[in-house]
């Protein structure tokens, strides 16, 4: 049974250890959860400076250039119209309108480059291979994310061309003889980059970034609080086989051309359900919640529309304390009939505590949408 119980080590495990990381098992990998700054310090550092995240546990997949139409049959987004050098967010849908995983899709010179979640990696690749020929799982490349307002200055000192990239650009650049696959995107709500780098130069590259006084290593703990403040969904919590992308507040990602009336409307798994929810509204909807007191409301907390109602109207899908917000925050899935300004209550340790609904994100994002 070796290998089943033992989480796999990241290619940069020795570096993380040298940097003082604490590790936790996550999706089959031993992942750094925090370094010396701690979750709160790392979170704030990323919002003010730049944080370096090792996300090599995520799956990297390459599809042949002529498979855009085949991929479109699995995702409700425009892949055929995706320009070279651009990246788009999407999700694999199920026949019943749920989600198998969310992913990034980039059009690169020799094909389509996908990044998928670690926990879904094997299932996603099997799903792709069942429908598309020539699916290649990329091995031998680490994946690093550099996030925060100082990310551009730190990365451009190594790769000057990144200064001309805008949000969701995907480009290849050479650093020290190695080809970096760089996108201007991330999972923190900040400006920043995700960089696929050959494993044999990954540590040198990470150390070169960390040599910048504004760059600190950041663990999974802060990654979660950063994405939650940014209102970004985590697959398995906000979205799942049982929670549709419309219910999860991700309708924005479904491109017009794939919607009713579009040139390539439908023709993805669960299209009837998903397009029906866009047209008529889903039964449940995502809500951003601000608990009034200091007590965090975590995943699984039941939400009620009065202090004495016996049936919950929803449930917290992710919740915690927002270090930049300075207060607890939660994402919930609630009855879609709930008025957006209705006062609600979360039940924590047997007590109904008041919460208000708010718009998302909880903290403003810093994406760089146009070049300077």
């Amino acid at each position: 049974m070796d290998g089943v119980c033992n989480p796999k080590a990241l290619p940069l495990a020795a570096l993380h250890e040298a940097l003082g990381a604490k590790f936790v098992p996550f999706a089959g990998w031993s992942m750094p959860v925090q370094y010396s700054l701690g979750v709160m310090g790392e979170h704030k550092w990323t919002r003010e400076n730049a944080g370096l995240f090792d996300v090599s546990h995520m799956g990297q997949v390459m599809l042949p250039a002529d498979t855009a139409a085949a991929l479109e049959a699995l995702v409700p987004v425009d892949v055929i119209g995706l320009a070279e050098g651009r990246q788009r967010y999407g999700f694999f849908t199920t026949d019943t309108g749920g989600v198998l995983d969310d992913l990034m899709i980039a059009r690169v010179p020799d094909g389509l480059f996908l990044v998928v979640n670690a926990a879904c990696r094997d299932a996603d690749i099997a799903h792709l291979r069942a429908h598309i020929d020539g699916v290649e799982e990329i091995t031998g490349r680490a994946l690093l994310a550099l996030q925060g307002p100082k990310a551009e200055s730190a990365l451009s000192s190594l790769v000057p061309a990144v200064s001309d990239m805008r949000f969701m650009d995907s480009q290849r650049h050479i650093w020290n003889g190695a080809e970096l696959w760089i996108s201007r995107s991330g999972y923190t709500g900040e400006d920043g980059f995700e960089v696929s780098v050959p494993e044999d130069v990954a540590e040198d590259f990470a150390r070169a970034l960390l040599a910048d006084d504004h760059v600190e290593p950041i663990g999974l703990g802060a990654r979660d609080s950063l994405r939650l403040e940014a209102g970004l969904p985590l697959y398995g919590q906000e979205m799942s086989e049982d929670i549709s992308p419309i219910e999860a507040g991700q309708a924005w990602a479904i491109t017009k051309v794939r919607r009713a009336g579009g040139d390539r409307a439908g023709s993805f798994p669960g299209a009837d359900t998903i397009l029906g929810q866009i047209a008529h509204g889903p039964a449940r909807r995502r809500a951003g919640l601000l608990p009034e007191g200091r007590a965090p409301m975590r995943t699984g907390v039941e939400i009620f529309d009065s202090t004495d109602a016996t049936t919950p109207i929803g449930i917290v899908t992710s919740g915690g304390f927002g270090p930049t917000l300075g207060a607890p925050m939660a994402l919930a899935l609630i009855d879609a009939n709930t008025a957006p300004d209705a006062p609600l209550w979360g039940e924590v340790r047997g007590k109904r505590l008041p919460v208000s609904q708010t718009t998302l994100p909880f903290t403003p994002n810093g994406y760089k949408r146009s070049p300077k």
Binding site: Q34, G38, V39, M40, G41, G221, R294, A295, P296, G320
Partner: protein, 120 residues
């Protein structure tokens, strides 16, 4: 000072014991963001979960080390939970409990025994 297996420290003054958590526990918890204290004058039994501590990572609790009555709580922690990380063995005490049998304290660990306990 005595120590429990749940990483609490106990400081005795006659039949009243002040209870806090050890620096080791505070570090394991991470940044504390919420503390809920027991009501004054509550009778509690050994093992009752009487304090809630939430950090950025997770929720945890402190149990009553012995049977007794809560005679004082440290309200400062409610407004300033970060004190638990800053001064766990000083200003960040949680509550004082008046116990029926102070001699029961002898069963808890000494500082050296606790150090062995956390190095395991």
């Amino acid at each position: 000072m005595k120590f429990t297996e749940d990483h609490e420290w106990l400081l005795t003054d006659g039949d009243t014991i002040t209870v806090g958590i050890t620096p080791h526990a505070a570090e394991q918890l991470g940044d504390v963001v919420f503390v809920e204290l027991p009501e004054l004058e509550t009778q509690v039994a050994k093992g009752d979960e009487i304090v809630v501590i939430e950090s950025v990572k997770a929720a945890s609790d402190i149990t009553a080390p012995l049977d007794g009555e809560i005679v004082e709580v440290n309200d400062t922690l409610v407004d300033n939970p970060a004190l638990v990380n800053e001064d766990p063995t000083g200003e960040a005490w949680f509550f004082k409990i008046k116990v029926e049998d102070p001699s029961a304290l002898d069963d808890f660990m000494t500082e050296d025994e606790y150090k062995d306990h956390i190095s395991d």
